[in-house]
């Protein structure tokens, strides 16, 4: 059976095969650059709602909330889930947490209710937060996020059901095209065989 004896052709062949398989995989199952998630959240027993977008990479996050009287937002660096623990220390209890993980877009969406005194919740975030923009009946927050950053919105419901739409669009990402990957992979595999044949003849 023919197999390589020299190290260089073995390495080139390995890279070539890997590029062919990875390019084909990327086309079929690779990254999606945008995603969104919507939920009708039952807010009857929750005076405040916290909605968050937690991406792994950079991109533009948007949160639309309908059915609330006020919405505040803040940018966080690191894991914003630690914020929930700190909220617990202020006497606020998180209830009815609903999340959605979109692996292909690399984003984790979270909505949770905060029980306790809504004024405490508002005061806890004061100084850190900004007011969300109101467009029609909805409050909208749209922010560009760097890696390790996330966005959290604190909203105060005025209806029994709050409609929340969270979306994320990846920026700064790109990978080799299927054609280029296949061509480069195939070229490397052929070159490795040619090098092996030449070195054997010598």
């Amino acid at each position: 059976m023919f197999w390589f004896k020299k190290l260089l052709p073995r390495i080139l062949f390995g890279i070539g095969i890997a590029l062919i398989i990875a390019s084909a995989f990327a086309t079929q199952y690779g990254v999606k650059t945008s995603s969104s998630w919507s939920i009708g959240y039952n807010s009857q027993s929750t005076p405040a709602i916290l909605a968050a977008v937690l991406p792994t990479g950079s991109g533009i996050a948007q949160i639309n909330i309908t059915g609330v009287s006020q919405a505040l937002y803040l940018n966080l660096t690191g894991n914003p889930l630690t914020l929930l623990g700190e909220a617990g220390g202020l006497g606020l209890k998180t209830v009815n947490t609903i999340s959605h993980d979109d692996f292909q877009t690399g984003v984790y969406y979270l909505v949770t209710g905060l029980q306790g005194n809504p004024i405490t919740a508002e005061q806890a975030f004061q100084g850190l937060v900004k007011n969300a923009q109101k467009i029609g009946n909805s409050y909208v927050v749209k922010k560009s996020l760097n890696p390790e950053e996330s966005i959290v919105v604190l909203a105060f419901p005025n209806s029994s059901t709050v409609l929340i739409t969270e979306s994320f669009k990846v920026t700064g990402y790109g990978h080799i095209s299927l054609i280029n990957g296949l061509e480069l992979g195939l070229a490397l595999a052929i070159v490795s065989i040619i090098i092996e044949i030449i070195t054997r003849k010598r």
């Binding site: 890997a18 590029l19 199952y29 690779g30 990254v31 990978h175």
Partner: protein
């Protein structure tokens, strides 16, 4: 003469260490794995590409090193190849360095380097933003592999059985990573900062990643792995030079 003989010995042992087809299978496996991992989730910075790809590759590399640098080395002693190596007109210290080079350093450079090249080609628009940051992450993973490799090679020098050497090496590797995980978990649950910091420092790539991303991290974290590696490496060279018997 000594340099020529050292080169000759290095080539002979390197052929054994990287012999086909097992190395080729491993190479194609890690290269393909890295290509697939690089496009599974959208990583948008060069250090994040390094972490997404090299974490899994380091695991496979460590297992390969555990076989080649540990049980295979004992096998060389048992089959009488090592006594032949020791008859070369080269100092024992040089032989120990050559064996480290061919059993640990070069295989880990190739097994971590090829996947990094594949990931770099697959994600060239991302890696191209800052190749030096990607290289720094790669070096951090390479030093981490040297730490594991020096544990393995030391275990094989002390052990006279291939089975014992393999078990001690793999136990040492999993013990080290499990300790890091447990410390991180306990530190996170009980909010004990020092435990989280120690766990973080046990993988050199963690503080390096944090520094590259502008996340504040204690400076000492970056020295833990290199210092342990240097201590283990010097111990190996001294043991091989003075006390190693075949």
């Amino acid at each position: 003469m000594s340099l020529k003989k050292s080169w000759e010995l290095a080539l002979i042992d390197l052929w054994d260490s990287l012999r086909p087809p097992s190395f080729d299978i491993m190479l194609i496996l890690v290269a393909t794995l890295s290509g697939i991992l690089s496009v599974l989730e959208p990583v948008t910075t060069p250090p994040a590409v390094g972490n997404a790809v090299l974490g899994a590759v380091l695991f496979v590399t460590s297992l390969y090193l555990a076989l080649r640098a540990s049980s295979d080395l004992v096998n060389l002693v048992q089959t009488g190849v090592m006594p032949l190596y020791l008859t070369y007109p080269i100092s024992r210290r040089n032989i120990s360095l050559i064996i480290y080079l061919t059993r640990v350093l070069l295989p880990s450079i190739i097994l971590l380097g090829i996947p990094a090249i594949v990931a770099g080609i697959m994600l060239y628009p991302v890696v191209g933003k800052n190749i030096s940051e990607f290289l720094i992450m790669w070096i951090a993973y390479l030093i981490q592999a040297q730490l594991y490799g020096s544990i393995f090679i030391l275990a094989s020098n002390k052990s006279k059985s291939t089975g014992t050497a393999a078990v001690v090496s793999i136990t040492g590797y999993f013990g080290y990573t499990a300790t890091s995980l447990i410390l991180a978990l306990v530190g996170s649950i009980d909010n004990i900062k020092i435990l989280t910091n120690i766990a973080n420092s046990m993988g050199l790539y963690n503080p390096v990643y944090d520094i590259l991303n502008g996340i504040r991290t204690p400076t000492w974290e970056i020295f833990v792995v290199p210092v342990i590696f240097i201590v283990l490496f010097i111990t190996y060279v001294i043991y091989f030079t003075r006390r190693f018997e075949v």
